[in-house]
């Protein structure tokens, strides 16, 4: 299914400073019933990530961290069962998972002799039962499980989507008898950066010549698209895939290939 730029923009419009929670997503679904949840989530995620990239730094100043931590401590002191951390994140307009990470890091700094390593933090975020403090464990869990744009579960979902679409795409290519090299083969040949597939014989889709196909769990908006092309694919770049790829959501590969790769 192909989404127009106008549609995308309309959806993106509704997402300005909306917390990335289940509730927000539900409202979005009510507003755009014709779009699938996956598409909406993808756009939400994309737009929210842009927002976070812009504001990330201000949440990581020493003062900000200190003030968040104090507010968290005060909050749980009053009521440990209340969603203190989640509300704090929503209030300061920051992703709950990321807020959980900030607080967890700060907490560990205070309670451990050595500063916590990144892998320790990640592992605690993935499995909060490893967090020594029960209250904090619950708070962190609540944050990660309620965050629909960041956090270990979301990462896993994105990864899974990427993988699924690669499989789908491979099947479609096989079905259509298009000869291709996949990522593993390319890597074995010594390419360092690879798209998912390179077509050994290019095909034309709606007047565009397609040489390679990359399926991404994230949404192909203009900005990420440019960055992506730049980082990864100039060596394979031959033609105007840009417009085509643009505004085809996570479902693009499935849809596009079904529609066009005939």
């Amino acid at each position: 299914m192909i989404l127009t730029k106008a549609q995308y923009d309309e959806i993106a419009q509704c997402l300005v400073s909306v917390p990335p929670t289940r509730q927000s997503l539900r409202k979005l679904k009510q507003r755009f019933p014709s779009q699938s949840q996956a598409t909406l989530l993808s756009i939400f995620s994309q737009e929210y990530q842009k927002h976070i990239k812009r504001t990330h730094a201000k949440h990581h100043t020493l003062e900000a961290i200190e003030s968040y931590y104090q507010r968290y401590l005060n909050g749980v002191l009053k009521n440990g069962a209340a969603p203190v951390l989640l509300e704090l994140a929503n209030e300061v307009d920051y992703a709950p998972s990321l807020m959980a990470r900030i607080i967890l890091e700060r907490f560990l700094q205070e309670h451990e002799e050595t500063p916590p390593s990144k892998s320790v933090i990640n592992s605690m975020l993935r499995d909060p039962s490893q967090i020594p403090d029960g209250v904090l464990a619950n708070q962190v869990y609540q944050c990660t499980v309620n965050d629909c744009c960041y956090g270990p579960l979301v990462d896993c979902i994105k990864h899974a989507i990427g993988h699924e679409h690669e499989v789908l795409l491979r099947d479609l290519l096989l079905e259509k008898n298009l000869s291709f090299l996949d990522e593993d083969q390319l890597r074995a040949k010594g390419y360092d950066k690879t798209p998912d597939f390179i077509l050994q014989v290019p095909v034309a889709v709606e007047g565009h010549i397609i040489h390679w196909i990359e399926s991404k769990a994230s949404f192909g908006d203009e900005c990420s698209h440019h960055a992506y092309l730049h980082d990864q694919f100039w060596s394979y770049w031959n033609s105007s895939e840009l417009e085509h790829h643009h505004c085809c959501g996570s479902s693009f590969i499935t849809a596009a290939s079904q529609c066009h790769l005939t």
Binding site: R22, L153, A160, S235
Partner: protein, 1231 residues
């Protein structure tokens, strides 16, 4: 100038600041005000600093290295003070200069000694000699060997008058000639023109023995062979005093000025305690014996000072402030390999108080100093050294002095040597292949009449006759080109009446020139482009050995020092002599036209840009081809440009620059009217802009090297030189920016430009003076981002081919190793060729060589397309063969390796040991099989080539021709493939095996369970199961609902949960879309779901009264989960999480607490074998350690006991479980 060094030595000025100052950078803020002040006062002298430094070093080394003359340097700084020289610094400058000397310095005899000696010498015989040499010493063309005048002087000295060189020095010096160039060092009488023709280069004093040998001319550096004989003799008692070459004149002047200034100061100073040594001051006695001396780092005399000077010197080199990088390297290596020195008297060396660190005291007081200095400089030049050829690197790495003085550098060099693949062959294979008949141009239709056609054919014959005769005779002593062939050539030229016949002949001439002279083999008469292919049919293995042997036998001993004059080696000599003998204006004009055209054509040739991301292995083969193509084009261009330069400047070539200024001006006015023969300036601009300098500059240098004295003064060429100078300065090797020129490309340009700047006709002050306008050099390289410059087109072979003089470094080092170099004027060869009778007459004809000739002859008679076809087929089949071997043989070997590795892993029980060791052992087993590659490759080429040739040649090709073509194609393809394979197969196998091993070891992973056998989905599966991502997302929603916060109306319908678990089952069964991380997360989520079920924490949608899940439903769901865990998950399920404090803690909040589900779950886990009893007990045990509310702890303890009292035999659900609430049992029984 000296003052600058002084300031440096006294640490008033930092080295960095000084180099910035010299480089004319804008003053940097890093300079301290003190430094700035010191430097500002010295500004007028800036231009002269580098020449001064170079000369200073040469002179200092001259003092220490008795056997060697200083490696010369241009000394325009000194020349600027020549009387009457226009454009020199104003006289007034001297006043300023005098103040530069530090006033309080008490003079010391030691410090003055060298000056005194120099002065004495100068006032002695030197002027006479100079005048003498100035006289008839005209340059003359074509005079090859010469004995240098000072050699005679040396002999005289030897015969007993060591202290007085006497007038014998006035010997007619005209023997010291360079081909076609004025003897460096002749000073024109009277006021000089704008170019000062004086020698900027110190010629070489030669030992007595040397005068017998016929050394090639070397005008900028001492020939290696000038290392003295090993016998310390009376000759050497005054080894340098008299041997100071006239080229040192400028140096002397500089020194003398220094001395004068000093004496002035002395006169002004209040305590003129020391008399100024004036003329006639005795030469310091050198009583030390001359023996080979071991250098010892501990005996270096003034480390700090040497270190400083080395730093300044290296910085100048690094900034390209010196004209010729390789000349400086050569000089440094000379210092490194200095054999012995004259031990001066201690008193001589003892510096007076206060001047310890001044310039006045000799810099190099011992061999230790020299070596120390050299090693310091080499350390800083390591990047350049590391790009030299393998042979040079080896010699450097094995140099014991280097090891002794800097083990670190030696280590790096050794590493560089081991990693280097730059084997450079200096072999030159002379061969004269006639240009075949060119049907397109040489047929009758292209001639005006039968007669013209006929004449042309006759001329062709004459031309080849002349050529053959030259080939046969030119090496015979006494044979003279002009005498032997001149008249015949002129007669032939006379027949060329019509313009069109001229153009035909010129085409032939040019083709023949290219064919004979241009080749990867080098400047010398080497095989033409295609010939190596044919030659390589000899077979890869034999050929390599043959080449090496030939190289050792044939390579010239010396190409004439590190800066030889332009010459016409080998076959090129024929063409030069032909042009000279023909002396036909028409011919020359047509030749220039034709050469210009061809140069334009080749210069504009699009060379395929290299695809950096191409797959490496087999692409090597193709990439080699591209590189070779570039080399071919470049060498052709250089050859053509050289001849164009030769012919174009021939009419103006004169031995000397015009004697008077007036004459020069009139000539200039005249010449500026003449349009350039080829618009090289535009081509240069285009080249720079398109970033193809690496192609354009080398041929331009060849062209300019034949310029006459006036040329650099013409505005047109002046701007070219200035462009080249700026280019030279901009090629800083240390800068490796993105998109910049590749290192070797830069090195090539630096080498050729440095060589050009040393050509006598290029005014010496050009290099040091032009830079003032340096800010104007900004080539707007807008057009193409990826020009040739940034493609690594130059390799060491090409570098050494274009600049054979770089090989002098290797020869110098080799002569050090061989130990005795002086004797024969050359190097000791390890191989003495024993020749059979008719040496040189007929090359020995092996059957292979004959085959090659036959093939050549075969192509000669066939249309060119045949040859192209055969070569194309050979090229492609060879390349395909490599790919094929990689896909078959190598892939098989890798499979074997994998099997072996698996065995090994099983045998050793997962502990395969170090990956590197594994790779080693596997490779040692498998690499020998690589030898099969050659046989298989041969078979492949044998099988594939004939068909391809047949398909590409016309149907009508005669059978015999076809079969010959096929055979040649097979041979060439085999050669190509086998060469590559024999060189690379082992490395290829290693690489692949290594990759396979790391792949397997990685797959082995830390979790053996993950690696367990994976079941795919059943064959009937249509992959319609829900996607894992969807499921994770759904489960996450449930989890987040349970974790809250939630709106009152939110909840999960009970059917939904059941449905979800059903879907999970489907997904886990169809594994099409499942990736390990997704499965792991699903497993973890399912465990959390179970915990929520047990704790009854899932908000259920429905009437408020039933917001809890029915017990039976919960149990059913738990059953589903248990079955999923048991049957469907292939990833490990983190069941222990069920008993983590956090998840058990969920129960704590519920009122009333219900434990039966948990107990049920635990029992089921045990029953299904998902968890062991012991494991659960351990978990429960650790649970008790956590902090709980009092009552919860009690309940937990009860649960624990209950679980413990369970009989191991499972009959679980029938037992009532009496925890706290008595009704538990009933609920339990109901289910």
């Amino acid at each position: 100038m000296a003052a600058v060094l002084e300031s440096l030595l006294r640490e008033e000025v930092s080295v960095a600041a000084a180099v910035r100052w010299i480089a004319r950078r804008t003053q940097s803020s890093e300079d301290s005000p003190g430094e700035a002040a010191v430097l500002r006062s010295l500004r007028p002298l800036r231009k002269e600093f580098v020449p001064f430094l170079l000369n200073f070093l040469r002179e200092q080394s001259c003092r220490v290295l008795p056997q060697g003359p200083p490696t010369p340097a241009k000394a325009p700084g000194a020349s600027a003070t020549l009387p009457g020289r226009p454009g020199g610094p104003p006289r007034g400058g001297r006043g300023a200069r005098s103040q530069l000397f530090p006033p309080p310095e008490p003079p010391s005899p030691a410090a003055e000694a060298p000056l005194a000696r120099r002065g004495g010498r100068r006032r002695g015989p030197a002027p006479a000699r100079e005048r003498g040499s100035r006289g008839p010493g005209g340059p003359e063309e074509g005079v090859g060997g010469e004995s240098l005048p000072w050699a005679g002087a040396r002999r005289l000295r030897g015969s007993g008058s060591p202290s007085s060189p006497s007038l014998a020095l006035c010997d007619p010096p005209n023997l010291s000639n360079l081909e076609e160039f004025p003897p460096v060092g002749s000073v024109p009488p009277g006021p000089a023109g704008r170019t000062k023709p004086s020698r900027r280069i110190n010629p070489t004093p030669v030992s007595e023995e040397r005068s017998l040998s016929k050394p090639k001319t070397c005008f900028t550096s001492p020939p290696i062979s000038c290392v003295p004989s090993s016998q310390p003799s009376a000759l050497d008692t005054s080894p340098w005093g008299l041997g100071l070459p006239p080229g040192c004149r400028s140096l002397q002047e500089e020194r003398e000025m220094l001395r004068k200034e000093r004496s002035k100061q002395l006169q002004q100073s209040p305590t003129p305690s020391c008399p100024t040594p004036e003329s006639g001051s005795p030469l310091p006695s050198r009583t030390g014996s001359l023996t080979d001396e071991a250098a010892d780092p501990a005996r270096v005399s003034s480390r700090q000072r040497l270190e400083l000077v080395a730093l300044v010197y290296s910085s100048c080199i690094a900034e390209n402030l010196v004209p010729n990088l390789f000349l400086e390297l050569f000089f440094v290596l000379q210092l490194l390999t200095a054999r012995r020195m004259v031990a001066a008297k201690d008193s001589d060396l003892e510096p007076g108080p206060g001047v310890l660190e001044s310039v006045g005291s000799p810099l190099f007081q011992s061999i230790h100093d020299c070596v120390f200095f050299a090693v310091r400089v080499l350390e800083r030049q390591f990047p350049v050294l590391s790009y030299l050829d393998k042979g040079t690197l080896k010699l450097l790495a094995e140099n014991e002095r280097l090891l002794c003085f800097s083990p670190a550098l030696q280590g790096r060099l050794r590493a560089a040597y081991e990693g280097s693949v730059a084997k450079v062959s200096l072999v030159m294979l002379p061969s004269a292949q006639a240009v075949s008949f060119q049907p397109e141009t040489d047929n009758r239709a292209n001639f005006s009449s039968d007669r013209a056609f006929h004449t042309f054919k006759k001329q062709r014959d004459v031309f080849y006759e002349v050529l053959r005769e030259w080939e046969d005779h030119h090496e015979e002593p006494g044979w003279d080109f002009e005498k032997g062939l001149g008249s015949r050539i002129r007669a032939m030229m006379g027949q060329l009446s019509a313009a069109c016949s001229h153009s035909h002949f010129v085409r032939l001439f040019q083709k023949q020139l290219l064919q004979m002279c241009q080749s990867p083999g080098g400047a010398g008469g080497t095989v033409l482009g295609e010939a190596p292919d044919v030659l390589s049919m000899l077979g890869a293995d034999k050929l390599g050995r043959l080449r090496r042997l030939q190289e050792r036998l044939v390579a010239p001993q010396s190409s004439g020092g590190p800066c030889p004059p332009p010459t016409f080696p080998g076959c090129q000599g024929f063409f030069r002599d032909f042009i000279l003998s023909a002396s036909s204006f028409q011919f020359n004009q047509h030749l220039m036209d034709s050469l210009s055209l061809k140069i334009r054509e080749l210069n504009g040739l699009t060379l395929p840009p290299h695809e950096p991301n191409d797959d490496e292995g087999e692409a090597d083969v193709d990439w080699q081809g591209e590189r070779r193509q570039f080399a071919m084009v470049l060498l052709s261009l250089r050859l053509l440009a050289k001849f164009l330069g030769f012919v174009a400047f021939l009419p103006y070539r004169g031995p000397e620059p015009p004697p008077t200024r007036e004459l020069q001006d009139s000539i200039l006015a005249l010449r500026s009217q003449v349009p350039p023969v080829l618009d090289v300036r535009t081509l240069l601009w285009q080249g720079l802009r398109a970033r193809r300098a690496v192609l354009t500059v080398p041929w331009l240098v060849e062209f300019l090297s034949f310029a006459d004295h006036i040329v650099p003064l013409l505005d047109y060429y002046r701007s070219i030189f200035s462009l080249l100078l700026h280019l030279h300065r901009s090629l800083v090797l240390a800068q490796e920016r993105e998109g910049e020129m590749c290192f070797l490309n830069k090195l090539l340009l630096l080498a050729v430009l440095g060589w050009l700047f040393q050509i006598p006709t290029v005014p010496e002050d050009l290099f040091f003076s032009e830079e003032d306008q340096s800010d104007g050099f900004q080539v707007d390289a807008v057009s193409s981002e990826y020009g040739l410059d940034s493609v690594p087109v130059v390799d060491q072979q090409l570098l050494y081919t274009c600049c054979p003089y770089i090989g002098e470094l290797r020869k110098l080092l080799a002569s050090w190793v061989s130990g005795s170099s002086g004797r024969s004027g050359g190097f000791v060869r390890k191989i003495t060729p024993t020749t059979t009778t008719g040496l040189g007459a007929q090359p020995p004809q092996t059957s292979q060589g004959l085959q090659a000739q036959l093939a050549q002859a075969f192509f000669h008679n066939q249309p060119p397309s045949l040859r192209r076809t055969v070569e194309f087929v050979a090229e492609r089949i060879g390349s395909n063969c490599v790919k094929h071997i990689k896909a078959t043989l190598v892939a098989d070997l890798v499979r074997q390796a994998e099997a072996l590795l698996q065995e090994q892993l099983v045998a050793q029980g997962q502990e395969g040991g170090e990956a590197a060791q594994l790779v080693e052992s596997l490779c040692s087993q498998l690499c020998p099989h690589g030898a099969q590659a050659l046989t298989q490759g041969r078979e492949f080429c044998q099988k594939k080539s004939p068909g391809a040739v047949r398909a590409l040649l016309p149907e009508e090709t005669p059978a015999a021709v076809l079969s010959s073509a096929e055979n040649i194609a097979v041979g060439l393809a085999t050669e190509k493939a086998c060469t590559w394979l024999s060189a690379n197969i082992t490395a290829l196998i290693r690489r692949e095996v290594k990759a396979a091993v790391s792949r397997i070891l990685r797959a082995q992973g830390p979790e053996p369970a993950v690696r367990g056998e994976r079941r795919g989905c059943s064959r009937a599966c249509e992959h319609h199961a829900p996607l894992p991502s969807h499921l994770i997302s759904e489960i996450k929603d449930v989890l987040s609902l349970a974790a809250g916060p939630r709106d009152p109306e939110e909840g999960v319908p009970p059917e939904h949960l059941e449905q979800l678990l059903g879907q999970l089952g489907q997904t886990l069964q169809c594994r099409q879309f499942l990736c390990p991380p997704a499965e792991q997360h699903l497993a973890k989520c399912s465990v959390e779901l179970a915990s929520l079920l047990v704790a009854d924490k899932i908000p259920i949608l429905g009437p408020p009264a039933q917001r809890r899940l029915e017990r039976g439903q919960a149990r059913r769901l738990l059953h589903m989960l248990l079955s999923l865990w048991k049957e469907d998950f292939q990833a490990p399920v983190p069941l222990r999480l069920l008993l983590s404090p956090r998840n058990v803690g969920l129960l704590a909040d519920t009122r009333p607490r219900e434990w039966d589900l948990l107990l049920f779950l635990l029992r089921e886990l045990v029953e299904k074998g998902l968890m062991g009893r012991m494991e659960i007990e351990a978990c429960l045990g650790s649970l008790r350690a956590a902090q709980w509310p009092e009552d919860f702890s009690e309940e937990l303890a009860t649960l624990f006991n209950l679980f413990l009292t369970e009989p191991p035999l499972p009959e679980p659900q029938l037992r009532a479980c009496e925890l706290v609430q008595p009704n538990r049992g009933t609920v339990l029984a109901q289910s």
